[in-house]
Amino acid sequence: MSRQGDSPYLEFRNVSKAFGGLVAVNNVSFSLLKGEVLSIIGPNGAGKTTLLNLITGIWPLSKGEIWFKGQKMSGLPTYRICHLGISRTFQNLQLFTDLSVVQNVMVGCHTKAHSSLLEVMLRLGRARREEQELFDRAVEKLSLFGLEKKALAMPLSLPLRERKLIGVARALATEPELLLLDEPAAGLSVEEVRDFSQRILKLNEHGMTILFIEHRMEMVEGISTRVVVLNFGCKIAEGTFDEIQRNEDVVAVYLGGTQKEEA
């Protein structure tokens, strides 16, 4: 796990988000260094998914700024943010159910394709070659997770574990530098969580910076460099897993949940 540079990679500067009267994120500031694995935890409704949505530009910020690689990012449309090198998965997967597995991942590769509409419609050489390239790249991403054999299947026919991996493969297809995962371990068995954590760790070893939201503490403990804890939209603690585990405020929020794991 490498750490480089003094300037933060991803930076939240006094970010707030309100929906009418409801404040979902309240003056949150933190930064992420390149190569880290940062996890965000907190009770339900603490604003974690909102944070992810703010990073990816799905919702505009009410206050504050988000900076990425020394550039102000808040305010850009979502697809631009993707082109900057940030990709994400969704808590409810949001796979394209009418497309096959490989087609789902190919959609992720589209950012690298350049043939025009006209070329495609006339099936000119460049378009045909690009299409093959997209297919090959998609299969390559699937093979990272051992799913290349399921390329032509429809997503809904596969088990949850595999569907989640397809979601990650699709996100990876955009060749991101920063990968955001929204509760990736939800609904998985203990074995599956361990497997998933290993894969994410391997990605990180190859240089991917990771930010993920989780409830499953075994994953948080297993792979995070650092942890940020949110409650009611406010950041209440930040540090390594051990540090936040001992933090009184955090313990109070979880009402002894962390205590049990220590014992």
């Binding site: 990816t56 449309p77 979502t78 796979l95 959609v107 006339l122």
Partner: protein, 330 residues
Amino acid sequence: MKAMGNYWKWILPGVIILFLLLLPLWGSLYIMSIFIFIGLYGMAALGVGVLIGYAGQVNLGPNAFMLIGAYTSAILAVDYGISPWLGTLCGAILTGVIAYIIGRAILRLHGFILAVVTACVALVSYRLVCELEITRGVFGITRIPHYAIGGFVLNQEVHYYYLVLVVLAILYVVTSNLIKSRFGRGFMALNLFHGGSEVASEAVGLDVGKLKMQAFVVSAVYGSIGGSIYAHYVTCITPQPFDLWWGLVLMMMATIGGMRSVLGPLIGSGLYFGLKEIISLTGAIKMAGLETFVFGLIFVLFLIFMPLGVVQLPSMVRRRWGKKDVGTAS
């Protein structure tokens, strides 16, 4: 049985293509003209199918594309002596540009607002055509020249029959290419109504607004071509064949035929005109609007029971007989 299956895949289309190619040999002028109209409205319906069926964007006024294409080509030919071929091209470009502007402008809005916008555009453009001097208002434009290749003038039914056939064949190939490409995938990815997700599409880098606009432009150009050929075939046009109700008929054609298929809208067009013929053949009561009523009824029934259209029939039958369903993965 498996051999039979493969057999059908090639024999049936082959027979149909042969039938269509040889139709003028035995068909009357009247029959040929019906097929020509099926083809012309079918082109526009195909555009509708791409937009609604694949990209999931509702266009309540696809007639506007045919209208603009027809009138542009007609006016250029009659008032400025421009060749019908060039006029058709200009019509396609103009319609495409208008679609580009609308698409670009409305790109990030909720899908339904797009639907209302398209209805407004259709109403406004229809009104403009009815009122402006340049379009001769409701009386229409007459003495529109036919297409000509060199000295050879296309002035008979059979010429237009084959012209339409050729254009449809080209559009079929081009559309199939589009659907199988990343654009087709992109359309389906953002299609909320068929398991897609605009948010997820954007998150993986798709410029959703641009894709919607592209689908819109494709849809527009197809309709425009249909309208232009109509103008040069019938040689006189009024706004009426391109009014709002025809726009809705186009939508119904695409849906009944099958929105997620390239042949579907063409089949839908065939069904509509076929229905019209049947009604007039049975000498049924000269009630204006009967065929629209029946078509509307069929439309609603299809939506309830067979939303993927007539093209869904073979796979439904296959499923009933126990064969494995091939599914929709391309």
